[in-house]
Symmetry: C2
């Protein structure tokens, strides 16, 4: 069962000749989530052969252009290519006006329902949930209202180890109780603990996306113990003053944050165009948190 | 003195994996004009090493997204890279609201003056003029209000052939008169025609841009005798019904139009994504007008 992130772009503010602005696709058990949608995202989806009609949920962190200027083009192409399936868009409220105005003046009437969910920037909020996955937003610390997103697998219903049913001749009534978490009391009055009767639960995988934000330990509450953490690292630490002034994070800070969050793996991104060579950023973060990777176009990160 | 067109993109509606939506840069005597600005235009400018801070005039033909979704990204990057020079934008009036709304919600205050000139769709209108070049708009025939653009060199001030000044011992007063177009009357009463005294005028070069439009011979008035004609050719002629329904032109019609316009050279573009191989479109247009070329990313057309 797949839990895989593909990087479509990771430049900050201005794209460079070989780096696109921010966008990522997360495949959680064949649910495709698009996270931010910088200019050129639809071309990147094509380039990396991700069928964009499979995307049913789009999350936009904030209204700086490098995180959403590709959205209108993608929505239009989905329409022109005959999409009829609902598309859910989770984004700051004004984006609805921005979209509606552009549809109006192009006299475009989308063939598919575009369902807009305005983000709330006050606390953690559940945005989407089905039987296997849930997605929440949480507030980041940026110049304008910005959210991070947390993608989590949900626990499955407990299932009993078949051999135990035979061994203890468990009744149907007791099977239900065990699935709900109760221990078994045998005819002989012996107590068999629940954990000995049920299948071991698979580890529930989590991905947290933090871009753009000033380094802030309040975020640890939302993202602790994630398998995969994306944290922006716009600057080297020698530009900490610039990071503070523009509400961004340095590579060193991103590494410190991943350590404190007890993350298993860190991806850094949102690189300033001033760094043609990203190895300095990688080295700085890795000095703080060993399992760090660069967000680079087309790269995938699989959580097993 | 350069008169050179560079194609940045020529797909219609939806971009393909190897074709970007419409945008072109025209260099007329070191004035750089950007014509339409589909998604990814700023990346294309970088790719083809055109310094986008040299662009001071942008022309947007209409508000279908494949002609302007790259504009916000380009305006933002110009700002972030420190532009302070005036930028003139000629476009349908609602584009100003679309831009202002997006600047507002990103809390962006452009460092440079963005001077907006709303297009008029009724007739031919002069948009820009300096000592060497003028640019006009003219109405096209599309589903929504759309303009074509005509770029023309202006006649230079007449200059006298130096040898003639010596030969006829022409006075300063007479030099002025000759420059204004008068003949010379020598002391002996002999009339020397003006055309024998002045430098032969160089041919004045013209480029006309017609996208998107239904085939319409009313346009011939605006574009006749151009050196270079760009005309959309979205479909093969077998899809003439679709061309009529969507207010587009077929490759055959574009060729016929170029012949009737007495153009010297035709570029066809705005190709439907249904044609992975463009040679059929080229062949169809060439059968009508021999000197036809495909608009392809990165290609330049020099008018000598």
């Amino acid at each position: 069962m797949k839990f895989e992130l593909t990087i479509l772009g990771a430049s900050s503010a201005t794209p460079t000749s070989n780096r696109n602005p921010t966008a990522q696709v997360l495949n959680v058990l064949e649910r495709f989530f698009l996270i931010d949608c910088g200019e050129g995202t639809q071309m990147q989806l094509r380039k990396f052969k991700i069928k964009f009609q499979r995307i049913n949920h789009i999350f936009i962190s904030h209204l700086h252009g490098d995180h959403y200027f590709g959205l209108m083009g993608l929505l239009s192409s989905m329409h022109l290519l005959g999409r009829q399936t609902e598309l859910h868009l989770y984004a700051p409220a004004p984006l609805k006006d921005i979209i509606d105005m552009q549809l109006k003046f192009s006299e475009t009437y989308l063939n598919y329902p575009l369902i807009f969910h305005p983000l709330n920037f006050d606390s953690k909020n559940l945005l989407f949930e089905d039987d296997l996955v849930k997605v929440s937003s949480f507030p980041l610390y940026h110049r304008i209202a910005t959210c991070g997103f947390l993608f989590e697998e949900k626990p499955k219903a407990k299932s009993i180890i078949k051999e135990k049913i035979k061994e203890y001749q468990i009744s149907v009534a007791d099977i239900h109780k065990i699935r709900e978490g109760h221990d078994l009391i045998t005819k002989e009055g012996k107590i068999i603990p629940n954990r000995e009767l049920i299948q071991p639960e698979p580890r529930l995988r989590k991905y947290a996306y933090c871009s753009d934000t000033r380094y802030n330990e309040n975020l640890l509450d939302y993202v602790s113990d994630v398998d995969l953490l994306y944290h922006e690292a716009t600057f080297l630490h020698e530009l900490i003053d610039r990071a503070e002034a523009t509400f961004h994070t340095t590579a060193k800070e991103a590494g410190i944050f991943a350590t404190k969050a007890n993350a298993k793996q860190l991806i850094i991104g949102h690189f300033s165009a001033r760094y043609p060579d990203l190895s300095l950023l990688l080295n700085e973060a890795t000095a703080q948190f060993t399992n760090t990777h660069l967000a680079q176009e087309g790269q995938t990160f699989l959580i097993e």
